[in-house]
């Protein structure tokens, strides 16, 4: 993984020192909230329902054991013994006191972490495939380019005050696990005539105006990508609306301009860049960054593991977990493990201090010190020897981390909702918990197969409800919580925005409605191999809508 050089370390430490002074002035009264707010947001500090919330950056979702341990220590020392992993592959602490935040940031800086680019109208934390560098289905490792883009964007003077926040995602796998088409810029790494480059998608996003990104360039060679991104950003910075925050995201500009015209504007801006403006990243610099991501040298192992196979026979729960929570690794004898943060009746994405410590220890002992946060709010150990799986499973089980539900119906993306968030209209967490209880039976979940339910507590869509196969949106009806179901969304390479099924339902009605949807799917699928989303796309939405509202 990337390690700070002296410039990174100096930059982060100076930032902590600067913010320490700002917090001191805020507390002693010389800095009013109106002036302090943009400064705290630039350091990841929000004021939520109950307390300040600190959002810590986990660039492209990658952590080392020492970093996760530090996050665990922070959760215990400054918070209430847990942290919340987010759909942006970051972590949030919900109960920190403002006076402590400079110390928290210093503790983070000491392990090469920070809260920069986690809020405000800047280019945010670059996100990526949580299996990057390990998965068998990727063309190459996207993380070096995530890091290069991270370095290019951090404190970029031209893009510090954009019309609105800006999110970039990068993948290099055919199957998109990074939801690139619902990002402001989505980059899909490709190779063309022996040259590495990027297919560029612009103007995707969720929120109150969900849009699938438009492909604006089939192939930009890696040597030109930063200049091309700079051209996109300049067009956005110049023409993006600043008069209405609800129309300020680049998706509105691309929609109003038209993808073709937007692409022309970018090309014109790119062509107008003078030679001295060109970034011209030297090849040896790309190689230097790439070297950080070479990954562990994994000893050769046989494809089959007798120990693993025997353990599966002897331990049915382990067998269940192994059937669900493993992802194919590029090297024989290894696998990537998803540590589910979605226990039945739990809080999606939350991990306690002790759980974070356990994961850090496992990564150190078995996982080459590599930990990932997925945008689905789970943790991934990307390089695990199949021989070691049973030992890992047993420790996860003791820590309450062995739920066998990766990508199954109970593995929901759920935003914090009205239980924590100042923006929310309705609670999300209890709705998710109620649904989980209906589908708690592991055999039933496996029978249903891969299915994504995403829940947001308001139209800002932090729970990605627009791209859930089943989306649930909390709405306020005269002070009462109601929930709108949408069907057919997806965040992968066939990205689509879900369609609202009908009138909103009460919280009590939602689990039964989801059950009706699932039973409709089970009765219409051609076989168990036909996934929910495939059945839905084959037969259309009508049977599902009828099932939801049959009782009316």
């Amino acid at each position: 993984m990337y390690r700070y050089d002296e410039f990174d370390a100096a930059l982060v430490n100076e930032r902590v020192s600067q913010f320490r002074g700002q917090v001191a002035r805020r507390i002693e009264g010389s800095l009013p909230e109106d002036e302090f707010k943009p400064l705290r947001l630039q350091n990841g500090v929000y004021l939520q329902m109950h307390a300040y919330m600190l959002r810590v950056a986990i660039p492209y979702g990658q952590l080392g054991s020492a970093q996760l341990r530090r996050l665990a220590e922070i959760s215990e020392k400054y918070d209430r013994g847990y942290g919340h992993f987010t759909t942006r592959q970051n972590i949030q602490f919900n109960w920190v006191e403002l006076k402590d935040i400079p110390d928290v940031l210093q503790d983070l800086a000491d392990v090469e972490m920070h809260a920069i680019q986690t809020s405000g109208n800047c280019i945010r934390n670059v996100t990526s495939d949580h299996f990057a560098g390990a998965t068998a289905d990727e063309l190459m490792d996207p993380r070096p380019w995530c890091e290069i883009i991270r370095q290019w964007s951090t404190f970029h003077p031209e893009f510090a005050f954009l019309p609105r926040k800006f999110k970039i995602a990068v993948t290099a796998a055919a199957h998109d696990r990074a939801a690139i088409r619902v990002h402001d810029i989505g980059l899909h790494m490709k190779q063309q005539d022996g040259t590495t480059g990027f297919e560029v998608h612009v103007g995707g996003g969720q929120g109150r105006t969900p849009v699938i990104a438009a492909k604006v360039n089939d192939f930009v060679p890696e040597s030109e990508i930063l200049d091309y991104l700079e051209a996109v950003m300049r067009v956005y910075n110049r023409f993006g609306r600043r008069d209405n925050k609800y129309k300020a995201r680049i998706k509105i500009l691309v929609s109003e301009t038209g993808a073709e015209e937007f692409s022309r504007l970018v090309d014109a801006e790119y062509a107008a860049q003078s030679a001295h403006e060109k970034i011209d990243l030297p090849g040896d610099e790309i190689e230097r960054i790439t070297a950080y991501f070479k990954g562990p040298k994994l000893p050769t192992r046989p494809l089959e593991s007798t120990a693993f196979n025997d353990a599966r026979v002897a331990d049915p729960d382990f067998d269940e977990w192994a059937a669900v929570n493993l992802h194919p690794h590029k090297q024989a004898g290894y696998t990537s493990v998803t540590v589910s943060l979605k226990p039945i009746g739990g809080l999606a994405g939350d991990a306690t201090t002790d759980q974070m410590m356990v994961i850090a220890d496992l990564a150190e002992a078995f996982g080459h010190d590599d930990i990932r946060v997925s945008h689905a709010q789970n943790i991934v150990l990307p390089h695990i020897a199949i021989d070691d799986l049973h030992a890992i499973y047993q420790q996860l089980q003791r820590a309450g981390l062995a739920t066998a539900n990766e990508s199954l119906i109970t593995d929901m993306i759920v935003c914090p909702g009205l239980d924590y968030c100042n923006l929310a209209n309705a609670r999300s967490i209890p709705v998710g918990q109620d649904i989980q209880k209906v589908f708690a039976d592991p055999a039933y979940q496996r029978d249903i197969g891969k299915l994504h339910i995403n829940i947001s507590g308001c139209i800002n869509a932090c729970g990605h409800h627009h791209v859930g196969h089943i989306g649930i949106l909390g709405v306020d009806r005269k002070g009462q919580e109601f929930y709108q179901i949408s069907l057919g969304g997806r965040a992968d390479e066939k990205a689509a925005i879900g369609e609202i099924a009908g009138k909103a339902l009460s919280q009590e009605e939602i689990p039964a409605a989801i059950k009706q949807i699932i039973e409709t799917y089970r009765s219409h699928r051609t076989s168990k191999d036909e996934r929910f989303i495939d059945t839905l796309e084959r037969i259309g939405h009508a049977p599902f809508k009828e099932a939801i509202y049959a009782a009316d």
């Binding site: 329902m49 109950h50 939350d350 002070g479």
Partner: protein
């Protein structure tokens, strides 16, 4: 950004709530104009007095952040359209979290 807060009529009874600047805790103005972390201690204000108290609160930048009116009954109970939100602010999340949340989920899972 915070959610849009409803405008309350001048004659409606109101409390004033905010966040403690140093800790971020939710606080309520008491009848004597001091601040309490317990919503049960809130003062009930009406009309010009309420406006004056809110103005006073806004002047206490180092003590409290973002004060606003909260709708209450004449007895001081949270009421109106924001009842659920204000009850959650007052009582905390409606779900068990941290170790308590983990303990609860472990009884529901396998």
């Amino acid at each position: 950004m915070t959610s849009v807060r409803p405008k309350l009529k001048p004659e409606a009874p109101k409390a004033i709530t905010a966040w403690d600047t140093q800790t971020g805790q939710t606080v309520w103005m008491t009848p004597d104009g001091s601040w309490s972390v317990k919503s049960g201690d809130l003062g009930i204000f009406v009309g010009d007095v309420a406006e004056a108290k809110l103005s006073e609160a806004r002047g206490q930048e180092s003590k409290v952040t973002d004060p606003y009116f909260m709708e209450v009954t004449e007895d001081g109970a949270i009421c109106g359209r924001e009842t659920l939100r204000e009850n959650i602010r007052s009582n905390g999340p409606t779900v068990a979290y941290g170790k308590a949340g983990q303990a609860l989920s472990s009884t529901l899972g396998k």
